[in-house]
């Protein structure tokens, strides 16, 4: 009963996996807008309507790809972080940033799906928030580790964040970087959004004809952002 039921289920999960796999390959080559249910079905030797047995709509297939993407970049970031000595906070920061950029360059269309313009008419369901913050959690851990080790030394170059920020900072402290001051949380946001800002500019074409030596500049800029948070050199 369970065995047979699993047999049926097994075919189902296998086909579901194959659909997402083909879809991901299409996504990688054609981009999100070029993702076609019919093309996926064609490649599977199925008829288009059969896909709807597995994904009720194109958006649901997209959601699956998005979740996969978040997990993929999250895993890449986790691996990069894990390869560093725990107390080498600066090295971990650089490794994590490089992992983000590296994954983005290797999977530009998937990255665009995650961090680019939202697909019109598509609303990310709640299931995506978990995988969506895997990378950010790693990032927060580096900062709170540095703080715990007493090596976090943010340079005194700017006023403190506004009091209204405390509520937001509380939320972030609860999830990923406990005991860190409002000031450092705000710097962390600047640095993290800054990293993605650079990657976006590079990937979405704003650096074209402007910045060519991108890897070197990325490393340097990310180092500066690390210093801004207070990571030791």
């Amino acid at each position: 009963m369970n065995a047979s039921r699993t047999a049926r289920e097994r075919v189902r999960v296998e086909l579901t996996r194959e659909i997402t796999e083909i879809a991901r390959r299409q996504l990688a080559t054609e981009g999100a807008a070029g993702l076609s249910l019919r093309a996926v079905a064609r490649e599977m030797g199925m008829v288009s309507s059969a896909i709807y047995r597995y994904f009720p709509s194109r958006d649901d297939l997209l959601t699956a790809l998005i979740v996969d993407g978040y997990n993929a970049i999250g895993e890449a970031v986790e691996r990069a972080d894990a390869a560093c000595a725990r107390d080498d906070h600066n090295g971990r920061w650089l490794a994590v940033c490089r992992a983000v950029r590296g994954w983005a360059l290797a999977h530009p269309h998937e990255y665009a799906l995650l961090y680019g313009s939202p697909v019109p008419g598509y609303q990310a369901p709640q299931d995506t928030v978990g995988p969506a913050i895997r990378d950010t959690v790693v990032y927060g851990k580096i900062i709170s580790d540095a703080r715990d080790a007493g090596v976090l030394n943010p340079p005194d170059i700017c006023p403190p964040p506004p009091p209204s920020f405390t509520a937001d900072a509380d939320r972030l402290r609860a999830v990923m970087m406990p005991e860190v001051s409002d000031d450092v949380v705000s710097r962390a946001i600047i640095a993290w959004t800054g990293v993605f800002g650079i990657v976006n500019f590079e990937l979405f074409g704003q650096f074209n004809n402007v910045v060519e030596n991108r890897a070197d500049l990325f490393d340097h800029n990310v180092t500066v952002l690390g210093r801004l948070i207070g990571l030791p050199g």
Copy 2:
């Protein structure tokens, strides 16, 4: 002869303008993917094929919208900058950043078209580079003005950029911020990409359920980035 020819021409430019106008409105409500030539034609009481007399393809219409968008945000930035006292470099910086964010929030789909994921299969023609850097030119002027006034004082918190950056810095110096050091150019890139990184996170949903007090935090973060460049407080 000229008058009549101009009459013809006048109808043509008028219709072209009307097409882009309707298209922009559709873009604003539906997003780039929802922009449909047929829908535009329908709204104009024309048949779809007639549109092709004015725009040879959907991509060309998109290009027109992109150029318009770059000009719009560029103009918004220019106006914000012009409203400040010339020697209030910090105020100009804040005003320019707010203008970017304000325009992005007011025209999310157009902003996504400019700074979000590139439209698949669409390659920006060379005509777009001029309008594309209007905002950045203003931004560079603020920094070089501050430098000329001798008030630029970047905090010494990080190593200098790598020597390989000089070639890229030369390019930027030539276009928008002459006589500025490699170090400051690199900081300028960090700040400028950082601003768009924050706006992207806010607009593309990464701040959802995380950061709520966005205007305040934006002002503060942008101020910090200004300090990083060396703008006086």
